[in-house]
């Protein structure tokens, strides 16, 4: 009788076999992590936006304050005080003190 040898060179199947449940769980995890990442990114952006909003408001308030200060400094009474402090006297010119350059030029004597 002839004894046949067992072929021990088993052909290995090509590719990588992943069990289905494991694959599902992996996929779900990837999506979940992706979603979580986006969620965190949105929150971070939201916080940055809020911070920028707050900074814009602060800048706006500061601008209001400076405009108010400037308006106060420019008031005629304050200007007069400064002129007095520096011992200056200023009056608006009379007609005979003004030289008109060009007849067609409109007057612009006021600030």
């Amino acid at each position: 009788m002839r004894i046949l040898r067992t072929n021990r060179k088993k052909k290995r199947a090509a590719g990588f076999m992943i069990p289905l449940p494991f694959a599902v769980v992996m996929l779900a995890s990837v999506f979940s992590l992706g979603y979580l990442g986006l969620e965190i990114r949105c929150e971070t952006l939201g916080e940055q936006l809020k911070e920028l909003e707050a900074r814009r408001k602060e800048a706006h308030d500061k601008r209001l304050y400076e405009e108010a200060r400037w308006a106060n400094m420019k008031s005629p009474g304050q200007i007069e005080k400064v002129l007095r402090r520096h011992r200056l006297t200023m009056i608006w010119p009379r007609q005979d003190q003004i030289v008109f350059v060009g007849e067609s030029e409109p007057l612009d004597v006021a600030p």
């Binding site: 308030d61 308006a71 106060n72 008031s75 009474g77 009379r94 007609q95 007057l107 612009d108 006021a110």
Partner: protein, 575 residues
């Protein structure tokens, strides 16, 4: 083989873990997937935040774009008395705050040592430096609340025109009141959710309505011209120890008010500390007997009807005239005067006779109505008075003679100036106004004033004649010599009226006034100055006329009203 005991332990641990995670899983599912309505509502209530977003009131500018009223974002200092008491920090908090705010620590302690109270405003409108100092202290139960505060950077300049808005942001006086519906704006609204640390989540905003800021109001007044007027009035108040003084500058051809000032005045930043007397805008809200300035109207009426000419001679009875059983005196004894000289020398008898013997009471009453005496002129400010003019059927036997010289009738300075400006404008009376336009933040013009004719009391020819007659008042021999302005012909009239008291007239208290326009050839601006009870000098020529000259002299230079370039200059200066 695993030991039976070890297997038992393993099973116990697995069971415990299963129960724990199972329980947690159930709780998670219960909270997130199927909470009861009650719980859901409670959760939503805790996480929800609803906030009204503060809005700034619109600004007010003068004609050159200088802001005269604007809102600032400031902070109120708030204390939580309950929290401070629980922390047993009343004394230390009071001392710390008192040091920074320069207040009495006992006063602060009294305000924050209140059981059950959760809110106490310690200080309004804190400055930035004070906020930083208090923040650094890190005091328990002390925080800031952001508020919008109205600020008037020019202090008391134009105070009666601008008015003020109260702490609730409601316009309560002046332009702040009449233009409140434009200035007010619309607050925004934010509805959102908070996280566990009570921070608002940007991504969970449900509603985010931006605030709509109020529109800006642009006035016709000029801050520099206004300042000139106010300085002149302050000088009058000091030099003549007057009870009050007021003045108006108006553009003759359009009715725009370039300046309007009244003394006493107030600081609108401290409106809560002012009295009614200070807040009264006497230029439009105080009626007085105009005295001799009324003669302008009397003579204009007679000329317009052709009843007299400038050279018509009137017998001034040598200074004493008995009429209807009552004696009327002149300040000087004049014999016969022409109509032109009646005005120049301000003869009361001359003017009274023109009214009584030439015009007659019915026609004279008609002219008073045409000149809007006893009626409001419709200025866009609150508090305008119409004056007092009785119906002609209620006049007594001497009313006509007395009204002709400015007694027995009351009017405002604005009305008197309106009479003069009508003459300067060829007989056309214009509505006075202080608001030029209202502009929204996006640039849309919501409201714009246009010059508006409100009457033609006299014709152009009469107006031309009156201008020449009024110019003579400031010549030598006229009562208004001190109203002259170098280089300009000024037309106007003085007024010196006894103040009424207890059924008669005071011998010591007078209203002194001067009303005029310049240049006479083509009047551009009309100015009136009224002084209440000046002492010791009391005549219009001595008190009001010099102030008129001082104001006019600076105003014409600033506005560029040079006789050769009058119209062109005023157009350029308004741009």
């Amino acid at each position: 083989m695993i030991d039976k005991r070890k297997r038992g332990r393993l099973l116990t641990v697995a069971l415990l873990l299963l129960v724990s995670f199972g329980g947690l899983g159930y709780r998670l599912g219960d909270l997130h997937l199927a909470p009861s309505d009650l719980r859901r509502n409670e959760l939503q209530r805790l996480r929800c935040v609803e906030k009204t977003i503060m809005v700034h009131r619109g600004r007010i500018y003068d004609r050159r774009g200088n802001p005269v009223a604007l809102d600032l974002s400031l902070k109120d200092l708030i204390a939580d008395p309950e929290q401070i008491r629980k922390a047993d920090q009343v004394e230390s908090v009071s001392r710390s705050l008192a040091r920074v705010l320069e207040m009495d620590p006992r006063e602060i302690a009294e305000r924050i040592d209140r059981p059950g109270r959760r809110f106490e405003r310690v200080r309004r409108f804190m400055e930035e430096s004070e906020v930083k100092q208090v923040s650094k202290l890190g005091l328990p139960g002390v925080y800031f609340r952001e508020v919008s505060a109205r600020y008037y950077p020019k202090d008391s300049l134009m105070c009666h025109i601008i008015g003020f808005s109260d702490h609730d942001g409601v316009g309560s006086s002046g332009v702040e009141q009449t233009m409140d519906r434009f200035l007010r704006g619309c607050p925004g609204f934010l509805e959102s959710r908070m996280d566990g640390r009570r921070r608002e989540l940007y991504g969970c905003r449900i509603q985010d309505v931006a605030p709509q800021e109020g529109a800006d109001v642009h006035l016709t007044l000029d801050q520099h011209v206004q300042y000139v007027v106010e300085k002149a009035l302050d000088k009058i108040m000091e030099e003549h120890r007057a009870l009050g003084a007021w003045a108006i500058i108006q553009r003759v051809r359009t009715g725009e008010i370039l300046a309007m000032a009244s003394r006493p005045a107030f600081d609108p930043n401290k409106f809560f500390k002012t009295s009614e007397t200070e807040r009264l805008n006497r230029a439009i809200g105080y009626v007085y007997e105009p005295g001799s300035t009324m003669k302008i109207l009397t003579i204009a009426a007679a000329l317009n009807e052709g009843l007299v000419t400038p050279s018509t001679v009137i017998d001034c009875e040598n200074g004493a005239w008995w009429h209807q059983g009552r004696l009327l005196r002149d300040h000087h004894s004049y014999g016969k005067l022409s109509v032109a000289d009646t005005l120049k020398k301000s003869s009361s008898i001359g003017a009274a006779k023109i009214a009584v013997e030439r015009i007659g009471k019915t026609l004279f009453s008609d002219y008073l109505t045409r000149f809007k005496i006893g009626s409001k002129l419709g200025i866009d400010l609150p508090g305008e008075e119409s004056g007092i003019l009785h119906a002609v059927d209620k006049w007594s036997g001497i009313s006509c003679s007395r009204i002709a010289i400015g007694q027995g009738v009351s009017m405002t300075a604005l009305q008197m100036l309106g009479v003069l400006c009508a003459i300067g404008n060829g007989g056309v009376m214009m509505r006075p106004y202080v608001v030029d336009r209202v502009v929204a933040k996006d640039g849309a013009v919501l409201y714009e004033s246009e010059p508006m004719e409100i009457g033609r009391p006299i014709d152009r020819n009469t107006a031309e004649v009156m201008k020449r007659l009024l110019a003579r008042v400031t010549e030598d021999g006229g009562t208004g010599r001190r109203a002259r302005v170098d280089g300009y012909a000024v037309g106007g009239k003085t007024g010196t009226a006894q103040k009424p008291e207890s059924g008669g007239y005071s011998e010591t208290d007078y209203m002194a006034s001067f009303v005029g326009f310049l240049p006479v050839t083509k009047p551009e601006i009309g100015i009136i100055v009224v002084v209440d009870r000046p002492q010791p000098l009391h005549t219009g020529g001595a008190v009001a006329a010099p102030a008129f000259a001082e104001i006019a002299d600076q105003a014409v230079r600033y506005l560029g009203l040079f006789p050769a370039r009058t119209a062109q200059a005023l157009v350029a200066s308004s741009q």
